[in-house]
Amino acid sequence: MDATPQRAPRPLGLLAELTHRCPLGCPYCSNPLALETRADELDTATWARVFKEAAALGVLQVHLSGGEPGARRDLVEITNAAHHAGLYTNLITSAIGITSETLGKLSDAGLDHVQISIQDNEAASADRIAGYKGAYARKQALAAEVTRLGIPLTINAVMHRANIDHVEDMVELALRLGAKRVEIAHVQYYGWALKNRAQLMPTRTQVERAAEVVERLRKQHHGQIVIDAVVPDYYARFPKACVGGWGRRSLNVTPSGKVLPCHAAETIPDLEFWNVREHSLPDIWDNAPAFRAFRGTDWMQEPCRSCPKATEDFGGCRCQAFALTGDARATDPVCHFSPRHALVAELAEARADLEYEYRR
């Protein structure tokens, strides 16, 4: 029998996956392997309704993402709707599919911030990783437009074996592009990234060296650019507080309107997800079985259950616990208190210079 549930905490962020269409094929994409189709995409009016409900629920920031949000012909209307719902708007883009003209209209519609991904510090390698010739050049051009318009720019650099040794050059590139923030986003192994794990995994030495470089760059560039880093958790002793805790800080809406506690949640069996076409967003947040499944700490097993860090990292990532141990309630084996911790080092060693399986 369930104890009377306490009112769920209010989310701060909404990841709006407007489409799974994307011209690039990045092998580390966090979208699911089963990409949602164009025919199933929510229309403009439904997104507008979702944004209003999100603001009422307490969401402050929306990340307009995908796939490639620029693939939506109604992107300006969608951004306008998010802005008018009172949300701070972030465009998360590859730059491919956002013309200068569209950027101008997005700016007028109230877009607050743009994040552009870079795949490496030079064109040949960057385009090879993205699986799209000309991507690097287009990203530079759009970055220049963003800064010309005075919109804050973040460069997102997904780091893995092919580019991790270039981290200094990638930060220098972000600076040259006028970014005030750069995210050193070590690959997280879900979706397409999990499929390409052997090709993407860096060595421990590479990770440690990159961490030293990032620390030095932070000091060197203090006041010019903020360098945020996502932990490469296969080499960690403690797990990340994945999404800030299940059903606590953020929620995802997929292109077809399914609401997920995180982008990999569908990999966990026996979770029931609700759709915005049938339920309001606040109803889903508070009551959908998928959101209740791992909210709080009642679901925990040992060692998480009596661990002093339980409310700090929530036992790590449920999806990763399921992927690596077969049990979504298990301690994320990234945690050195997990009885399965040795498995993570074995998986990290299983590197192979195979071709990428591009996201298609």
Partner: protein, 90 residues
């Protein structure tokens, strides 16, 4: 130190927003959220790019019937902190 004739304003990409469910006023920036209740809200909302620091201090002193010198210190400290975090332009 912030000059008395400076005209502080929120830079593009920093927003002062009210959200009922989150308990009131917040200051939003890329990947950052700050509570901005009470005195913080009163100061930030007056930073329009039109009013000088001196005029903002005068207005606060009058509105809240408080000593000008105290307000000047509080406003200077708050603005310096926001400028350092890149949440305010002067």
């Amino acid at each position: 130190m912030i000059a008395a004739d400076a005209k502080p304003k929120l830079p593009r990409g920093v927003r002062l927003t009210h959200n009922e469910a989150q308990g009131g006023w917040v200051l939003l920036a890329p990947e950052r959220v700050f509570k901005a209740e009470g005195p913080a809200h009163e100061i930030i909302k007056r930073c329009t790019g039109e009013a000088t620091v001196s005029e903002i201090v005068d207005d606060l002193a009058k509105t809240f019937n408080a000593p000008r010198e105290r307000i000047m210190i509080d406003v200077s400290n708050m603005l310096a902190g926001l400028v350092e975090k890149r949440l305010m332009e002067v």
